[in-house]
Amino acid sequence: MFNLLQAEWIKLSRRPMAHILLAIFLVLLLLSLILYYVVIGFHEGTLTGGLGTITFLDEAQIQQYRQQLQFPGIYGAVFNQINASGGILAIVLAAGAMGSEYGWGTLRVQLARQPRRGRFLIAKVLVLLLVVLIAMAIALVLGTIAAIIFGFFIGEIGSLTLGQLLLLPVSMLQALLVMLPYVMVTMAMSIMGRSVLAGMAGGVIFLLLDVSLGALSFLAEMGGPFIFLYNLLIQQNINALVVANSSYYGLDTAAISPFNLELLPHPLQAAVVVLVYSGLFFGYAYFWFVRHDIFGAA
């Protein structure tokens, strides 16, 4: 298995697509932080060129944006970005990692040598998740540098407790968990459709479908067993994990979040539900991958 992991690592770590997606993500992260800085600057009048203050936000919201540019809130901002644009980029990466094997015809070369298909798929998924974790670590480093720079401009760097520092690995795993069902659906769709496009389309459609199911929030308002059913929907549990990741770093998610926080399930329940969904999607991908025929290049 270790040999297969090494082989997958060579494939994915040297793939230009992975580097490009990471660069896109880091640029988006930086742009979002710059946007926060601009919003604060307009609110406080430091960027309006003497025109006074321009604001559409209340003081509590501005305070939240300010916190996202300094320690420890910067990490909350990084994880928010990871679970927003990072999720879509992870779908693209997963579709590329699996679907290209069909498109280039490399899968038949690999499986003719390594007929244990299940192991091959597990190695691919593990390396994909490892690459996503490494990308998160790079984003956190960038966030740390950004907090120092923005802290200089807004006059406050903030501080970080040891506890918050130790929470970073937990938050990384939590952010990974948020992406996991989408990555698994993408893998399954790439395998079923034998292409990058099928994977990407499947992942994005699932993402949109999942978000639109959030419209069923009236179920939660009805209370009782309805709230239990609503909390079994994947999006609700993902929201719970995202909000938890923000709150670890002092952000008041109620001020900037569109969710009704009181209706969100407990993070532990959320983690279990998301894991179950991910497991089901992986099982589906595994079933197809192990059973179906491997033809030539698509």
């Binding site: 040999n3 297969l4 090494q6 082989a7 060579i10 494939k11 040297r14 793939r15 230009p16 280039w104 015809g105 490399t106 038949r108 070369v109 690999q110 499986l111 003719a112 040598r113 390594q114 007929p115 244990r116 025929d293 491997i294 033809f295 030539g296 290049a297």
Partner: protein, 302 residues
């Protein structure tokens, strides 16, 4: 040559909905053999190879490699096999060396093995270049290097000379001969009949999923047998003269040629017979059927 069975298929069949891609193929390939697998495009060659490699499941029948059933025990069956299937398939953004490194890592092979196979296919100089920059010939050679990486006892090559120039084809033929001399068993699928005729001990000819002919190349082409004669004058009389001779099996007329079924070294006696009968012989020589003519004859000109 020992008689150990390296590849064996028993009534191997694969249907794709209503289409029968491979129909009851039974083959046996022994250790040290170079076996040619011939057939027009779409005849089922690649589907058969894919079933041998466990990539496609047979609808019925079975394939065994060195006694191991490919479906039931694929790891044991395929651990002795190196294969090149269809066109060379590698990661375009990686160098030839790194592409082989992926395969070597997955197999737990040392890096020295990569250098060895690159040297065998003479690709050392371009090893660090990206695969996407390779010419077709270089891609073919890299695919052969990949097949040789784990020092397999059985090598399956699907159209290994596709896209190669004549010099490249000669190189690959000589590489195949070298591999045979080293004791490898080779399953060679190709539609380049001259290449197969030059390289293989035995062949099977496939059409629409069925084997139409199978056997030793020499036997199929009746090598050492048959004389062809061109006479001037009364051709009918020549046929009658020859048919009257008890040691001549048969005489067939094909355009202006008489095809006589006798041992090729009996051409002088035939010449004498016809001359004595007053028939002038314009040309007489041993008949040499090529695999190409045999193939066209068997497949009906596909």
């Amino acid at each position: 040559m020992s008689t150990e069975q390296m590849i064996q298929t028993e009534q191997l069949t694969r249907h794709f909905k209503d289409h029968v891609a491979v129909d009851n193929i039974s083959l046996t390939i022994e250790r040290g053999e170079v076996f040619g697998f011939l057939g027009p495009n779409g005849s089922g060659k690649t589907t058969t190879i894919a079933m041998l490699l466990g990539l496609i499941k047979p609808t019925s029948g079975r394939a065994r490699i060195m006694g191991h059933d490919v479906q039931e025990n694929p790891v044991a069956a395929l651990s002795h096999v190196g294969a090149m299937i269809e066109s060379p398939a590698f990661y375009p953004y990686l160098s030839g060396y790194n592409n082989l490194r992926i395969l070597a890592r997955a197999d737990g092979l040392p890096a020295s093995r990569i250098d060895a196979v690159l040297e065998m296919v003479e690709l050392q100089k371009a090893a660090r270049d990206r695969f996407q920059t390779y010419s077709q010939g270089m891609k073919q050679r890299l695919a052969i290097a990949a097949a040789l990486l784990r020092e397999p006892e059985i090598i399956i090559l699907d159209e290994p000379t596709n896209g190669l120039d004549p010099a490249g084809m000669v190189e690959i033929r000589s590489l195949i001969r070298q591999l045979v001399n080293e004791g490898h068993t080779i399953f060679l699928s190709s539609h380049l009949l001259y290449e197969v005729e030059q390289t293989c001990h035995r062949v099977a000819i496939l059409k629409e999923g069925r084997i139409l002919a199978e056997g030793a190349v020499d036997a199929l082409l009746h090598r050492g047998r048959g004389v062809q004669v061109r006479v001037t004058g009364d051709v009918q009389k020549a046929i009658e003269v020859l048919q009257a001779v008890p040691w001549i099996e048969s005489v067939k007329q094909e355009a202006d040629l008489l095809l006589i079924d006798v041992a090729s070294d009996q051409a002088p006696q035939i010449n004498a017979l016809l001359t004595q009968a007053g028939i002038l012989v314009a040309e007489i020589r041993a008949r040499e059927e090529t695999l190409e003519t045999f193939f066209l004859e068997v497949t009906g000109g596909s």
